[in-house]
Amino acid sequence: MGEVVRHICGISGGKDSSALAVYLRGEVPEMEYFFCDTGAELPETYEYLTRLEAILGKPIARLNASRGFDHWFEVFRGALPSPQMRWCTKNMKIKPIEEWIGDAPAVSYVAIRADESNRKGYVSTKPNIKTLFPFIEDGVDHDGVMRILQDAGIGLPEYYEWRTRSGCYFCFYQRKAEWIGLSERHPELFDRAVAIEQKVLQDAGVDGDADFGDQAMRGRQYTWSGGETLLQLRSRRDQILERHEASLARSNKSRTNVPLVEALADALDEDDDTLPCTVCAL
């Protein structure tokens, strides 16, 4: 007797993977949904996940829930992740996923849309995993995704109003305007990110903060966002927003009838062409 094949669908907290989950809801009854929890997602994301769970009528397995960012921050004694040392992706996404999947044969459904087939998602290299791209196969594009979400009554995650991707609130791939967005939408998370930048974990327990200032890379100022601390960044708020508006306008001029989500992404992409973490933002 052959082994039972698992069917799995990863949820990132973004619109595409959520739409795929809804899209496959009736199609693959044995589907297992999973979400790699960093413990540092935006509140909007968590809220959206419970919404999605309710809509799917199935739980979304939270991988990694007990070893989130705060855990690793303590284990690494305040050594912070960066594009050069991306332990976050490795420890909080790839490892937990591969552990959870294990060695049983599995079919993984990945939400790459028909209109972005050149994008790369997390495609496991493990031999026991077969990857399917239902949106590409069925020609579901951006509009299709929006329709699916609308029909399901789930809508978009609220962070799309100010941010283009899911992921940690302090993701170092977020753009300057998005940091300003964080400082205005979630001032408490922004403050937390400021503290982490100084290697302090706020409210680690009843005793208060955990300070690693004299441990990891002592005396070296880490910055989440290139070239400046978050406080310096925030002090340039108006300038950053002005630039952001300008690029938003530029990008709107060249295309008509663009949904806000897209316009925002275009505008933000203008000031930064680093590829973000594809695992997180899938």
Partner: protein, 1160 residues
């Protein structure tokens, strides 16, 4: 005519370099061998070890090329070899210099019964090859020397291992890894069991190079195992490595981990710097020439007396003794002055020197004797600087390329070579200047006018001539003639000025700025106890001594005392259980100070801006720095050497004086004294301060197994991974963990192993201290790291975790002050890294009223003991249950006020809880309207009632969210005026394919969802669609909003249902219908249901679009065109009578439907 060679003979040994394999056991290499102080020192160390104890030792000799290391090895080989002429010659040589050492050597033979056969001697010269190959060749050689062939197994039990290893080494098959370290150690043991084994690896640096370049298996453990087999209580195995650079320097450029491993290996060896001082070298020169003509001898002595006087007046103290000058004859006094320096700086030390003295080259000293005529009343023939120059420089006997001073060399050599037309005296003087330039750094040995007058009495005039031809220039600042351009920077002045400044600083500061002493390993103690003990080393000049922190990576500190050397510092009384501090108190630091000042001054001068711009000056200073560092190293070794230095283990009083012994034996003694109760761990990978990556992973798995699989045999491990090895060695062997399958026996507990007993008691004492207040885990760690336990840092978390698990029902754990009901692997991972973030508190078994309450709660909450033999009744089990229960609750339950007052209060108390006992006996009872349970109360009448209430509270909390969903289902069905989900679902399903407003559509689709199994799942999705938020995340406001939103959405839904129903009646089919009301100007109204059949929709749209376009073109404004068309359509819709009747019916049906919707 008489020649010098008639009266003087030359000892002939030094013409070639020694080769261990070729020259071993030969008499010839020993002929004329001179035992110098350094040689004697090494021989003494080894024979003392052999004479005094059963075990061997390990030494690493580092010295430059040609310094006589290999010759020393040959002398050693002969000394401990078999009975015979060679040994007798060697012993005679030693006796001549130090009869005591000769006696020790004989005692060594006596002790080991090797008077006849001698030691086994495995001498080998390494190549660039794996270390295992080198060692194997050596061992094979030792076997063959003794037996001439590999003997049978009955005679030599490791014979097969040796044969296998040899065939392994010979095989070309790359899959074979060559002889294993274990096999080699086995062979060595087999040899050593018979007679002591001396293993000498010459050119050991070649092995290290092979390791560094990755071409060879760099297993450092082979050497370590061999060294360890010989040290402490091991077998008589004596390992000696000879190399010209230290291990670390040989490995420069190798990976960090590789270097660390080798540093550890080197720690097992006693380092000996094998460098002769110029004075010793000069003494060697004196032994080469043997004058056997008394008359000549007295002539030489007269000459020497006058020379020595002149030299003294020039401040050259080294040659102020006529004996020394005379011994070096036929060398001119200046030639004997520069030769040692010249050879050590540009050549291969003594090998080069003696090639010159005794070689057959036409320019050599030996040849000089054969050509120099000796006559009465004429000056003695002397071998002058010019001849030295001709031999070393002009003929290219020396090659400066390896010395780092090649540029000066080349400049000087080529200047003199290219100058033509000089007279003989001019040539002679120019060569003298050149040679002095080559060896001078500063100070007295330089080409000054006074010095040159010793070469030629008419030096003054010749110098003027030479200056005119431009061959030499006079450098005023240096008071020196030079044949090279050099620099205009006043290096001497700079260094002198710096010296002046440096000398006023405290010695400890100077030393600290020029030299970072390397940590020392207590070698004997480490190997005896299988526990690497390492001491940090620093210079110290008195004042307060603070012992090392418990968490320091070092096991103690050695203070090199350089201040007031007579007094012993003492520790404060707080340092009772601290890591050991040892003071090394030298008798004399004068030389140390001088050499350190020199280094510091040169370093200082190098920073001068003038020097920075002048590469010649920079280079010269760098050379000088290297020189002065060598001097400094020698001075440091002398100051803190065995005979000249007192070692004291500090305490609160005057300290304990340690036996100095060889190497680090004082440190070992201190460790014996202080680390008395160190448990054996039995696993090298775990028993460390810092783990390797692999070790770290294994420990993580071990901890995870301990926490999650404590009731399984072997903690659930299978196979032979390193975690299993750690488990077996440290947990199973010691009975810290007893695994019995299927029987939930106490898994972790007090070890039966004696060596762990003290450590366990120390930990329990710390836990017991936590009865009155929380104790930080760092304190528990510290108690185990410090003496007398002195556990290695990597072992401590494993041990403490075992302790915590053994007392899980009594010891509460807090992280950052927050109570953690269960120790999980992830908490453990954080604990390993930051023990200071954790506290423990001891909850002794409860008694009296509290016990009654705990028992009642345990019964009501159905809490079973984790382990069968344990009593249930403990605070931590109950609170753990409660807190975990609250952690599982959804946000709605945590926020809502729609709970009974008692449950609300209890919930808030549980969420806010910090202290387990405070929660259980005060906060929770109070929240529920009971009085607190005092710790001293004997009884508590409300125990049962309290327990029941807590039970109901938990039940209410657990059911809260489900209850919400059930209520919502009821509400929805009521709004829809239906009794079952299926009814609503069916109505909605009928609308699924209709074109609907997106907002309504999502609601309808949610109602129609038939993929769920039960009402609550169905409701959860509907509630999420309506509220745009999952109910688990709701607050009470969300619920309120939901109620009103639901009414509206249901109303819309019902209208649609009605519409759909009417359409069906009207003719069926999917619809896209509108209800149009037309109000005329007289106030009368008409309502009509209109629709476009899907089949006709596109056709109709086309017609409409073209009509609108045409009309817009005619009228000019799209808005006016749209309005006009709409108005006309309205007019056209004016019903005739028949239509009106029909419409009236429609309206009546609608109103009826609505009534039913609203009032049921």
């Amino acid at each position: 005519m008489a020649l010098l060679s008639d009266s003087i003979t030359v000892a002939g040994r030094y013409a070639r370099s020694a080769n261990l394999e070729r020259d071993a056991a030969q008499l010839e290499p020993l002929d004329g061998y001179v035992v110098t102080a350094r040689t004697l020192d090494v021989i003494e160390r080894i024979v003392t070890t052999a004479a005094k104890g059963p075990a061997g030792g390990a030494w690493s000799l580092t010295g430059p090329y040609g310094s006589g290391k290999s010759s020393l090895a040959l002398l050693l080989d002969a000394t401990i070899g078999a009975k015979g002429d060679t040994r007798e010659t060697a012993l005679a040589l030693i006796d001549e210099v130090s009869p005591e050492v000769g006696v020790l050597a004989r005692q060594a033979h006596q002790r080991h019964g090797t008077h006849e056969s001698g030691f086994h001697r495995a001498l080998v010269t390494a190549q660039r090859e794996p270390l295992s190959h080198t060692v194997l060749r050596a061992l094979e050689a030792a076997v063959l020397r003794r037996y001439n062939k590999i003997p049978a197994k009955s005679r030599f039990w490791a014979a097969k291992t040796l044969r296998d290893a040899l065939s392994d080494m010979a095989a070309d098959d790359p899959r074979r890894t060559g002889p294993s370290p274990a096999a080699l150690v086995e062979i060595a043991r087999c040899l050593a069991e018979e007679s002591p084994l001396l293993l000498v690896i010459d050119e050991f640096g070649k092995n290290l190079e092979a390791i560094r370049d990755g071409g060879a298996d760099g297993d450092p453990y082979l050497l370590q195992q061999l060294a360890e087999a010989g040290q402490g209580s091991g077998l008589p195995i004596f390992v000696v490595t000879l190399q010209h650079l230290s291990f670390d320097d040989c490995l420069a450029g190798a990976a960090g981990a590789q270097r660390r491993e080798w540093a550890k290996v080197q720690g097992r060896f006693e380092d000996i710097a094998f460098v002769e001082s110029p004075t010793q070298t000069r003494a060697l020169i004196g032994t080469v020439f043997d004058v056997h003509d008394d008359e000549l001898r007295s002539r030489i002595f007269r000459w020497a007396k006058s020379e020595a006087k002149k030299l003294r007046s020039l401040g050259i103290a080294e040659l102020a003794d006529p004996e020394v000058v005379a011994a070096c004859y036929p060398l001119h006094s200046l030639a004997s002055l520069v030769l040692p320096e010249l050879c050590s700086r540009y050549g291969q030390q003594e090998r080069t020197l003696f090639s010159f003295l005794a070689g057959s080259d036409p320019q050599s000293a030996a040849s000089f004797l054969g050509e120099a005529a000796i006559a009465q009343r004429r000056p003695l023939p002397l071998l002058g600087l010019d001849r030295v120059y001709d031999y070393f420089v002009a003929s290219g006997a020396l090659n400066a390329s390896g010395s780092g001073q090649s540029s000066r060399w080349i400049e000087i050599a080529s200047r003199l070579r290219d100058s033509y037309g000089l007279s003989l005296p001019q040539q002679r003087l120019a060569k003298a200047v050149a040679l002095l330039n080559l060896v001078s750094t500063s100070g007295t040995v330089r080409a000054s006018k006074q010095m040159l007058r010793l070469v030629d009495s008419s030096a003054d005039e010749i110098l003027v001539e030479l200056e005119e031809t431009g061959i030499v220039t006079y450098r005023e600042f240096a008071d020196e003639y030079r044949v090279w351009h050099g620099t205009d920077v006043d290096i001497r002045g700079l260094v002198d000025a710096a010296l002046e400044q440096v000398q006023h600083q405290p010695l400890v500061e100077i030393l600290t700025s020029v030299h970072q002493p390397r940590p020392m390993v207590a070698a004997r103690h480490s190997s005896e106890h299988d526990m690497l003990r390492m001491f940090s080393v620093r210079y110290f000049d008195g004042g307060e001594v603070e012992p090392l922190d418990a968490f320091s990576q070092f096991d103690g500190e050695a203070l090199l005392m350089v201040g007031d050397t007579t007094s012993v510092p003492s520790l404060g009384p707080s340092a009772v259980a601290a890591k050991p501090v040892i003071a090394a108190i030298p008798t004399d630091v004068t030389e140390l100070k001088e050499s350190a000042c020199e280094v510091a001054a040169v370093l200082f001068a190098l920073e001068d801006p003038g020097v920075a711009e002048d590469w010649v000056a920079r280079r010269e200073l760098s050379e000088r720095l290297a020189q002065s560092r060598v001097t400094f190293d020698r001075a440091a070794a002398d100051a803190f050497g065995t005979d000249t230095c007192k070692w004291v283990l500090l305490d609160a009083a005057e300290g304990l004086e340690l036996h100095p012994g060889r190497g680090t034996s004082a440190l070992s003694q201190a460790c014996d004294e202080v680390y008395r109760s160190t448990p054996a761990v039995g696993n090298e990978m775990l028993n460390r301060t810092d783990l390797t990556t692999q070790g770290s992973k294994a420990r993580r798995l071990l901890l995870e197994g301990m926490i999650e699989h404590s009731d399984e045999p072997d903690l659930g491990f299978t196979g032979h991974g390193p975690e299993m090895a750690m488990y077996r060695a440290f947990m199973e062997r010691t009975n810290i963990h007893i695994s019995r399958q299927g029987n939930a026996t106490e898994a972790f507990g007090e070890p039966t192993n004696e060596s762990l007993g003290v450590a366990w008691d120390v930990m329990q004492t710390e836990f017991n201290r936590a009865k009155s207040r929380r104790v930080n885990l760092r304190d528990v760690y510290a108690a185990l790291l410090l003496p007398p336990v002195g556990m290695k840092a990597a072992v401590v978390p494993v041990f403490v975790t075992a302790g915590l698990l053994a007392s899980a029902d009594r010891i509460a754990l807090y992280e950052h002050g927050t109570f953690k009901p269960v120790l999980t692997p992830e908490i453990s991972e954080r604990m390993v890294r930051n023990p200071g973030h954790f506290d423990v508190k001891h909850f002794a078994n409860t008694t009296g009223a509290r016990r009654v309450v705990v028992d009642a709660l345990a019964k009501r909450l159905n809490i079973r003991p984790a382990r069968s033999r344990r009593r249930v009744a403990n605070v931590l089990a109950i609170v753990g249950h409660l807190v975990s229960g609250v952690r599982r609750l959804d946000n709605y339950t945590l926020r809502t006020a729609h709970l009974s007052e008692a449950t609300r209060n209890a919930r808030d108390a549980l969420v806010a809880a910090v202290e387990p006992d405070e929660l259980l006996f005060a906060a929770l009872p109070e929240a529920l309207g009971f009085r607190p349970v005092r710790s001293d109360a004997k009884s508590y009448s409300a125990a049962q009632s309290y327990a029941n209430t807590v039970g109901s509270v938990l039940d209410e909390l657990d059911g809260c969210y489900e209850l919400l969903l059930t209520d919502l289902v009821g509400l929805l069905l009521e709004e829809c005026a239906e009794n079952t989900r299926l009814a609503v679902c069916g109505q909605a399903a009928a609308l699924e394919n209709e074109v609907l407003d997106p907002a309504v559509r999502a609601f309808v689709l949610a109602l129609a969802n038939d993929t769920v199994d039960n009402d609550t799942d169905w409701m959860r999705a509907i509630a999420t669609v309506v509220a745009k938020k999952a109910p688990a995340e709701w607050g009470d406001d969300d619920l309120k909003r939901f109620r009103s939103d639901l009414s509206e959405q249901v109303a819309a839904f019902r209208r649609l249902v009605a519409l759909h129903a009417q359409c069906r009646i009207d003719g069926g089919g999917p619809f896209d219908a509108l209800r149009v009301t037309v109000t005329r100007s007289d106030g009368s109204e008409d309502i009509r249901l209109v629709s476009v059949d899907n089949a006709h929709r596109s056709q109709t749209e086309r017609v409409l679009d073209s009509a609108l376009t045409e009309l817009t073109d005619t009228i000019g404004s799209p808005q006016i065109a749209h309005q006009a068309l709409l108005a006309l359509l309205g007019e056209r819709l004016l019903p005739n009578q028949a239509d009106a009747d029909e419409l009236g019916d429609d309206r009546a049906r609608f109103d009826e439907g609505l009534r039913r919707f609203r009032y049921g």
